[in-house]
Symmetry: C2
Amino acid sequence: MTSTDAVGRAGRRPADKFEDRRRQLADAALQTLAALGYARTSLREIASHSDFSHGVLHYYFRDKVELITYCVQRFKTQCIERYDAVATHATAADALARDAGDGLAATLESDAPMHRLWYDLRSQSMFEESFRLDVAEIDAGLERMIWRIVTTYAHLVGREPACTSATAYAAFDGLFQQALMRHLARDPAALDDLRAGTRSLLERLI
Amino acid sequence: MTSTDAVGRAGRRPADKFEDRRRQLADAALQTLAALGYARTSLREIASHSDFSHGVLHYYFRDKVELITYCVQRFKTQCIERYDAVATHATAADALARDAGDGLAATLESDAPMHRLWYDLRSQSMFEESFRLDVAEIDAGLERMIWRIVTTYAHLVGREPACTSATAYAAFDGLFQQALMRHLARDPAALDDLRAGTRSLLERLI
DNA sequence: GAGGTTCTTGGACAGTCGTCAAGAAATTCT
DNA sequence: AGAATTTCTTGACGACTGTCCAAGAACCTC
């Protein structure tokens, strides 16, 4: 029976193989979620985006909840790594503002499906308590990234931030979300407005 | 056949009765959506929140898409009416800032399920094109409301807004969304932080 | 290569979904 | 009042869902 018990199996000898397969399946699930949204993602749809049949999902995950939770956590680590890599080694304030705006616009354009998945999952967390912890941790990581940019910018112009970390993140998050929606609606000005808005917010929040 | 054709029926004589019932069913649907979220709302669940059985939904709506679309439009009119009623007849800047923060905090606390439905539907609109138009109109109405507050505040302190209407709305929307999530997670500081953040943003954006 | 373990498949299950149609019930009209 | 029409209920349908399982393929060790 242990051979079909994902939890018991997870801690065993060739844990690498087992965990690798979990990651592989979770990536297929994330790809499906980003394409269809949470409401329309089924296990068979996930399996069809992978190299396996739908039955294998219950060999590596106890049930759908564990799979989705694992996906959210995996998504979280990817986000944190990504955002921790955002370099803020600019030496001039306006260069930093430009780089920040360009960076946000670049990831919005290239990773739009991933970002809309993030907002979808965050909305789900308002209905499903089981998602809240992971979502809150991702949010905290994003808030730290924004705060690093804001404080660095402030110091480059010889000032201090004039708002809390939470307020700064909320403002940038709202800006990014609006830009994402407009970009998905094929508004050609969405990216430029995001760049301009980033600059405007940076100037205003310090 | 016209008796079972919702579209053909809608334009007939006692159109009031027919339209009233559509509104009644749509309200039951909105109540269900606010409670369960979009992903878990089924027609039978909606009917159980009304005084009718599930079959009647297809008498008043062609299919589920038309029902949900009708709900979004109805939700929109309620929002626009509500936000157009937000009085900005304060005569002092700090009184307006306080009223705005109190107003946002009050509706967040009393209508939290409705607000999380809004963010849920807005996320869905990033996946389902059919929602985008209505969602964009609600967003535009919200943006106008925020802009009225910002401009009124600016004029009360003898200045002009220092950002675009879109940027101001994005910032306040992000602030409100963060506060809503924290409030739903039973963070006792969520409402106070929303009030403080509102004041902070008003001061910063002009 | 044989035997045992691990992995994967594909089908079956019980339940739920949106949809529809037949007829009962309620209402309106004459 | 009865007839006609509108409104609503009930039960069914095919499709899809998450879950589970028997069977076999693939892999490894001896």
